[in-house]
Symmetry: C4
């Protein structure tokens, strides 16, 4: 069937083509999942992991069969399972937004009300998830040195990022597959960002299409683009130049993912989800199952990307170029020497290499070494440092700013916010952050972001990676804990 | 209705004025709570968070309507709930005081017998309560270097604080809203302090009025005053000068609270407390609820307070001026250079900025830097260093003394003591501390407080802020713990 | 009734004297307990905490009334409580000794089969028991640097202590009130020590009398004496000179206990033990109850003991004098300069000053400073260093030896051993230690104790007193732990 | 009965010889177990802990009685216990291999499906198993410093070990008694190693005979031999020379086991396993029971082995000689100076000396000191460094390679793999490792093993052996944890 044929295809016709030899689907994915849904309407499964323009952009036009008559389509039977019902009940039991006091709360609620698949994909990380948790905990090794008796009646935590105004020193970083958590996907972020004056970084792997997200922006709203460089550089070039045309203000090239990480929690979920009866095969079966959402979407990334490619990028766009995923000072120095606009010190939210250091820890070495080797001071307008990963509080952000970052990327908390409450959740999250910034700017004694300086933090413990000597189980179990005084009644009952 | 009218208002009359437009209450609070109780007698809700003279001092006289005929008043119906009954039962089950062995015990009992609201307000702290707990744990990083074979048959742990005698090197620091925990509020502290020769610091936000607490003092009993500086400096001036007139021996100006902290445990309690049926609104409701006790009482504090204001304080009073809430050596040095009488190295019990360092940790840097930069030695009569936060044992106090503090402030333990046992509890707490001082002075080999010197402690680990590498959950759950030998019977049963 | 009257007193006569004014008991204790048992036979309660010669030695002869006719005595009714029965059942369920694999096992069994009072007294320690546990854990910060390819077919871990042979580099240190745990008390230790060639240090506060313990020794068996110096120096002089006469080879003067510590676990046990109905008094009662066994036995100790007294000791005895309880290098140096035979670096098993450092940690600073200041090398025959506290394995001992100790004192493990199994338990404990020494001498590559040298250990972490930053409870409870692969059945059931 | 008699012996005849004086068994073990099975067929108990040629090699030929008529033998009655049945049920519930995501999973499944005796023997370690766990945890103190923007489209993690090709930088290290876990024992390893191009180190104490394992090798497959040196050097010489003849490419002489360690978990299992009724003896019985599998097999090892013996080894074989079990730089230097081919920095999987350091920690000091003292750089072809112990991830291996190791030995994970799934399990384990190597080579930015250099890791925390200050139990139990926002329903139910 040639391209351009514009007659209505019947669902029955589609349904016949359900074999490897002739496989029609109404929307499509990888070959395996295609076969599973061959001959049916797979929109519901397809949508969260493909932007709407995925077919038009990536499939040769001659393979498009044309529109289908919706009345004739055999739907994948959507049975609302007990699990789903329970989830919907939990959804109706969400606390009102004013009971949400901090970003942690969105995660606590989100994990109960979003589909398991979304939770597994969003929350999972590489290997033993050591780096994932380290990202957050590293902030707990940095302590404040607050100043008092400064007039903090007016405090201002707005800043500029790559020359663009931001109401706070953070941006919404790129995270994939937003529709897994909420039908509006990343649009929730675009809309909330507009209302609160923060910048959104659009992900290559958004569920919504790039154009949808740009279209949804308010006049003057700033957006960045995160880029996975593809094996087919032409597609990448088109994407980059299209982005520039659409007004994107910064291009964040991901460099920490030549191959997308194994995220075992995500992979494990797949097995848990299956019908147990399907598993009654021999323990030595070698059936290839899904590798989780991450693997399903990563094969197009080009692992050969290298420093030499950067000139090409400069040749195709005038957007500021930032490397996302730098993890040591040597690479930050290289980026500086090559005249890039900055680097994001990031380990991809702990989703790639386990035991990669946290961005905040790398920040300290980068600031130190670039000062020493090139005399650069931070924060620096010409070469900006960003960190992401593990941020949950405005205090986390302020620590990074004090140590030399221009701004901090926040990702998962906003995913959890919209998975639980949609756009309202993201807005509430931003309001909480504004509140925390106001409070904490006052409490550290900083009137503006420029006042948040290195002497305001003690980062001397940041490089300490302590693993305690294993516990003496026999000694410890012999030890009888001290007890408090107790109420008489309790005593009598015991 | 003009000021000065002195006829009896009827309750029925009051009850009519229950709208935003015309709101009469019999005593009053913030505008929101006022509307809740509009037209009724709110004394029971009002009393713990306002001293009895709050109206006469802070409300323009022309807004006072005059006395109300008590017989005609519509009371807020006080129903003794099951929760209250359970609490009263627990109250009757308190162990006798001689079973209270240490300050921890008061907290253990107090938390069971005090109203939930009191527990939430007293125990809560900022953000993730990291600093709150760090305050206590920091003392565990300081170890003794005890001396032996000194004649310790007579040991004396009394000292002088700002020139005033104290039976031990600690004082009762300012804590707000004492009536939440006990109907006599801070009077419990005044009376017990008198009996045991310790100094009480009266809080600006006491439930009892300043004058009540001064009136309750015994002849010669020493009291200090903690001061929140108000936007309206005239009120502050009146308060300060009145305090000096009433014999207050030291003015502790709070500098760590330009805005009162968000204490989420306190805020959360509000929601837990409400009728669940009221929450059946949409998850996205934006209804503004109470922000906890802290926020309810903080709007009057002046966030513009700065170093320049200190001359004014010197001009209005001759009381010794101490800054309460200094958190780095730079600000301690500034206070020293400006000729103040001392500083309290404090983070407000962890209730303001999370990740502020503990007082004991700041103490070490202050002593070191002021010695280096100004040649000052500590303890020092002209410029005294105090710390507060986290103290539970006399050993904690002795560590601070060894490191250069003149005295240590103790707050929450006394709140828990009177919430559980009234004045008797506070007295018992002081007796326990006396016992601990006697014992531990002997055991470290110090006859007097002057013998408690830096070489008696090892504080080399104090600056260590360790956060362990996240656990390897898979490895750890595979590890099978060693078991002890077991009794035969237990084995048979298993 | 005068002294010397030697007629038989009737129990009925005794029973009449049961008041404060005229109080006869058949054996006696402190005044309070005396009143409790006034007029009855208190032997059972009295025996564990007083050696048999306590009356003849400490009570003026004119207060002895004479022998009582046993047939006429009103016994304290001994009711075997359900608790006791349960304990006796547990006793009969003890595993055979060959299931006891290490010293921890004795504690595990002992705590189940000994009277609660014994467990409370033996296991308790000062304040929050931080030092008590630190004593053991400090050894876990010292790691071996083992040597290989040495001929270890014959290994010999015997040594000499104060010139006396010992089959291993440890001695049984002094612990009080042995009859609380076993009717034969410290005799269990004397007899087992004889069989295994180790030295016992006899405690001042033994349940058995000093002479009983010396009489029980085998010919040539070496014993030391631990001494609490009494206010009445004549009694102390008699005791010391009597000990020398009886062949005691070393006098260990306790210097870390001018006052015996508060051990709250022990104190708490008293309340737990009482009839709950007795507690129905007002929460504010001030009734003085028992302060635990420690306080009951400590008032005779002289807190004025000081360095000046040491000459007097030299004048009354030629036994080697060792200070037990030194806790910093300054005092070890003083002891060295005064020509003593050695010091025990000890904190009294964590029972005195909480946050006193472990002996093993003090050892390192003593060795370093005495080498630096006096050129002394360790181990040293003229001035021997001992440590005690927290030892559970031969490896612990070997670490101390490598760091310069001559020998290590072990206390509680032997108490637990005889409380569970009498003399057989102590012997088994010693056999286990012999086995461990043989094994571990081979594995570290040491043929003799002289080969156990500083380079065989890495003690670089010993001074590290880490307290982790308090946990982020919200973050941690959101984190969902990774799961292993699971069996299909388990999955189905969940 | 003389040797060489080749008639069929009847089972009845064997059965008569069941006393100490005349003990015939059909296969044999130590004298104690021999008596237990005297007169019966002990093959089932015997096989896992003896290779099939144990009799022909180690028992004088004149003691062989000859073949037995199988029909006449009294079998040890094999009753399938409830425990066994439960285990077999669990075996049938194993998840299919594609649900096994990492090496931890094999342990999780293996521990449920292997015989308890196997689990006890495989998983147990010395004393408190501190070193055993430290081996794994030490890797968690080493963090990566990953490089980006290198072309990693092709990554190659193959290497050479002692001049032999290996598909990855690890080998299967020697572990004893493979048939405890699976009837094919170490053959599972040989076969899987062949398929995946890795080297197997054959253990002296394999359940399969040396020749069986060599016979099972594919043409060109490389095998090493681990050697326990016997008291009878002739046996050792025969074994070594036979191995060389059979093509073994490296001789790893174990030097950390002059005596096999006490593994209490293994010993404890013996008691747990016995009929409880047999234990009804007095608590003080001294019956000698089994000491666990380790002791049963260790008496032949020569504890006199020393550096002087190495020349003899050079005189009897030309295989590369490597010392297995070196634990400090001094001994590594000695091995280097004596011209050996390398050392394995190992503590025998934590099974020998507790508190021996991890191999990875020793690696760092060896590399540093040998560079300093002899100018050697690592990795080094002439003198190769290996580490083993605690490896579970390819990242662990890459850390050791970066720090200078040539390869890493992995043992227990493969035991768990074949105990759970036989040869398929080992193959899956190797596939997982290949996957992890590919991923992580890319993510650290290394194209080949040569690119894995010291600057790619941060090992600055490796020597940190932290033991936290013991917890403040009273403080901690008073602390009330923060709570998340909760669903309305949950709240109502609570």
């Amino acid at each position: 069937m040639g391209a351009g044929d514009q007659f209505l295809i019947s669902g029955q016709e589609v349904a016949k083509h359900n074999s490897r030899e002739s496989c029609w689907i109404i929307v499509h994915g990888g070959s395996k999942i295609i076969l599973k849904y061959a001959g049916k309407d797979a929109t519901q499964e397809y949508e969260p992991i493909h932007p709407p323009d995925a077919i038009t952009k990536n499939l040769a036009p001659e393979k498009h069969l044309g529109p289908v008559d919706p009345n004739t389509v055999q739907k994948v039977e959507v049975v609302i399972s007990d699990k789903d019902k329970a989830r919907q009940e939990r959804m109706s039991g969400r606390p009102p937004l004013d009971e949400i006091l901090n970003l942690h709360d969105f995660e606590a609620i989100g994990k109960l009300v979003m589909p398991e698949k979304a939770w597994a994909y969003y929350s999972s990380a590489a290997d033993d998830e050591i780096t994932n948790r380290e990202n957050h905990l590293a902030y707990h090794r940095v302590w404040f040195r607050p100043r008092v008796l400064r007039d903090v009646s007016q405090v201002d935590w707005s800043t500029t990022i790559l020359g663009q105004k931001s109401s706070m020193p953070l941006y919404i970083t790129a995270t994939a597959l937003g529709k897994l958590g909420h039908p509006d996907g990343e649009l929730n972020l675009t809309r909330a960002a507009a209302k609160h004056g923060v910048i959104q970084m659009i992900p290559t792997l958004s569920s919504c299409s790039f154009d949808e997200l740009v279209d949804a922006a308010q006049p003057g709203q700033v957006q960045f683009l995160q880029l996975y460089v593809q094996r087919d550089r032409k597609i990448t070039q088109q994407l980059v130049q299209h982005a520039e045309k659409r007004g994107i203000k910064g291009l964040f090239i991901t460099v920490d993912a030549p191959q997308l990480g194994r995220r075992e929690k995500d992979m494990r979920m797949k097995f848990e989800d299956e019908d147990p009866s399907e598993m009654s095969r021999s323990g030595t079966s070698n059936i290839d199952r899904s590798q989780g959402a991450a693997r399903a979407i990563s094969s197009f990334i080009d692992p050969s990307l290298n420093w030499g490619d950067l000139d090409w990028f400069k040749s195709i766009t005038r957007m500021p170029l930032i490397l996302k995923g730098v993890q040591c000072w040597e690479d930050a120095l290289e980026a500086y020497d090559r005249g890039l606009a900055g680097v994001v010190l990031s380990n991809h939210g702990g989703r790639q290499l386990d035991f990669a250091p946290s961005g905040i820890e790398v920040l300290v070495e980068v600031v130190k070494k670039l000062r020493k080797k090139r005399g650069v001071k931070f924060p620096n307008d010409k070469f900006q440092l960003f960190v992401d990963g593990g941020v949950r509080r405005a205090t986390d952000v302020l620590k990074a700013i004090a140590l030399g970052a221009t701004a901090v990327g926040v990702g998962r908390p906003f995913l959890y916010a919209f998975s639980a409450y949609g756009q309202d959740g993201v807005e509430k999250a931003l309001r909480i952050l504004h509140d925390e910034f106001e409070m904490n700017m006052r409490l550290i004694g900083a009137k503006t972001i420029q006042d948040v300086v290195p002497s305001m933090v003690d980062a001397s413990n940041l490089k300490s990676h302590v693993v305690a000597v294993p516990g003496d189980r026999l000694y410890n179990s012999n030890y009888e804990s001290l007890q408090h005084a107790r109420l008489r009644d309790l005593k009598a009952k015991l």
